[in-house]
């Protein structure tokens, strides 16, 4: 099995709501993983993370999450990121209410 080259997205939680947010290509914070910038170059990902960390007036706990290219934008690799992108499984709350999934 050949190892898939994993790309990254910059993600964190919104300071005011706590909601999961992703960084788009224009530097804005967006609610949907599919709207995030998929960063395939590791060095650039680290740079974007540093930029994001400077925005701590808006976002808390930023980090690089693994993602892969999908037909409608970035998709999660790990199941934890899938839950973060979708919201809880017991109620249609969070992103499922706001149709950000």
């Amino acid at each position: 099995m050949t190892r898939e080259v994993v790309a990254k997205v910059v993600t964190g939680n919104d300071l005011r709501l706590g909601d999961v947010v992703y960084r788009a290509a224009n530097g804005a914070w967006v609610r949907a993983l599919s709207a995030a910038e998929l960063i395939e170059d590791v060095a650039i990902a680290d740079l974007k993370l540093l930029e994001a960390m400077a925005q701590q007036g808006d976002v808390v706990g930023v980090y690089l999450a693994d993602a892969r290219r999908g037909p409608a934008g970035p998709e999660p690799v790990h199941f934890r990121e899938a839950f973060r992108a979708r919201g809880p499984s017991n109620y249609r709350h969070g992103k499922q209410e706001t149709r950000h999934v």
């Binding site: 005011r16 706590g18 007036g57 808390v60 706990g61 973060r84 809880p88 709350h93 969070g94």
Partner: protein
Amino acid sequence: MYDYTDFDEAFVRARVEQFRGQVARRLDGGLSEEEFRPFRLMNGLYLQLHAYMLRVAIPYGTLSGHQMRALADIAERWDKGYGHFTTRQNIQFNWPKLADVPEILSALADVGMHAIQTSGNCIRNVTADQFAGAAADEIEDPRPVAELIRQWSSDHPEFQFLPRKFKIAITGSPNDRAVTRAHDIGLRMLRVGGLPGFEVIVGGGLGRTPMLGQVIRPFLPKADLLPYLEAIVAAYNLAGRRDNKYKARLKITVFEGGLEAFRDAVEAEFARTRAAFSGVDQVLLAEIEAAFAPPALPLRDASPYHSARTADAALRAFAAQNVAPHRLPGYGIVTVSLKAHGETPGDATAAQMRALADLADAYSAGELRISHEQNVILPHVALADLPALHRRLQAVGLASANAGLISDIIACPGMDYCALATARSIPVAQEIATHFKALGLEEEIGAIKLKISGCINACGHHHVGHIGILGLDRAGVENYQITLGGDASERAAIGDKTGPGFAYDEIVPAIERILRAYLALRLRREESFIETFRRLGPAPFKAALYREGARRAA
């Protein structure tokens, strides 16, 4: 019940105003997240997977109807219309907005509640037997002592930066419903020669290194309690490791240095603390005890209950499963299950909270309790009122007659909410509950404690479940490990791992194999799962669990 004094009120209000200022400074950029984080944690505010989470203490699990209504109002006004009751007798709100939290804390202060020390390396919410003050088997109501501990530990200047969090549980009954041996300090009330006191247990805890507490003092006179607790925490504060957070709990201090060495250190501290306590604690305790005077419960004729019970099968099932003996004849302790099949264990909607508050006022002297098993207790119900109470519980979807059965599962929030979780807990609990009901096996299986945690921190107490399930991340896939033979009662035991874990879609069939083995192996219907397990050991259950062809390679 205890009402805040002017001192308590002023203290809690001052904390709310301090936090209001801290939130404002965080929002206007005056505080960085690094600076703000310790402040929010001191006030029970976590940042979880999808939102902030506010953890509110319900000291020793006791609530008035008035307080329950305030929790319902908070759920509706600032959250998504529900709250989650936890295994440490707290309530968690899963969706507050940061800017609203000071208002929520202010609303809590209005009813004598707070979120102080529900997080951080300090003495956490003191938990107690949920049947306290009502149980037929009780020596003495442990709640006055628990309230004394709450006041002593709140903002205690010496104990704000302990090596790690510190949990105290207390029971007034020989039947341990407070899991005292899984706490840093467990207190069991005793009476020796007419003198009240405690068996003091130290060094218990679950988490990544589960250990049962050991007896450090077989009998401590009640009047010595606070100086002795202060001596234990002081000794731990000095000896507890600060180099490794995974080795920082008291259980590790006791384990590494040995109980004898720790006892010596405590006794040395005790000589100092005993002399320093002037007796003001006993004056305070006497006042608190007066506030906990048992409610006046009139003698009631239980015959209407007995005739209704004969005629109503649902009431009969409910009474058999959810009603425990009260210290007074003609009364019972009612467990209202928050485990309706397919629902999230421990969740209650605002409407249900209000209904429970009304029912407490109508039928339970205005008192409610929250159990570590994530249920709500109406502690003082006249049996004559039980038929009416049962009908009203049915009307709000709270009449599940499943207390102590397979669907009465403890489950932590798991990866549906918790930032620390490694797998989901809630959907596993939901599926187990609905699966065994659909099979019609729930009553057949009978008494069993099944507990699920979504990571090794073990908030779901899986180690002390008769059957424990631990959700892990194995190479990027949810994997569930099973333990058998744990026990949370006075016969406390840590369960043993059965072997390799199971994938998400294999865990419910795996549990079914264990339980079908039990049904085949028990000597008679009355022999419970844990009794059968104790008689036979794990071998036949493991054989059924891992039998050829039953399990895909995980």
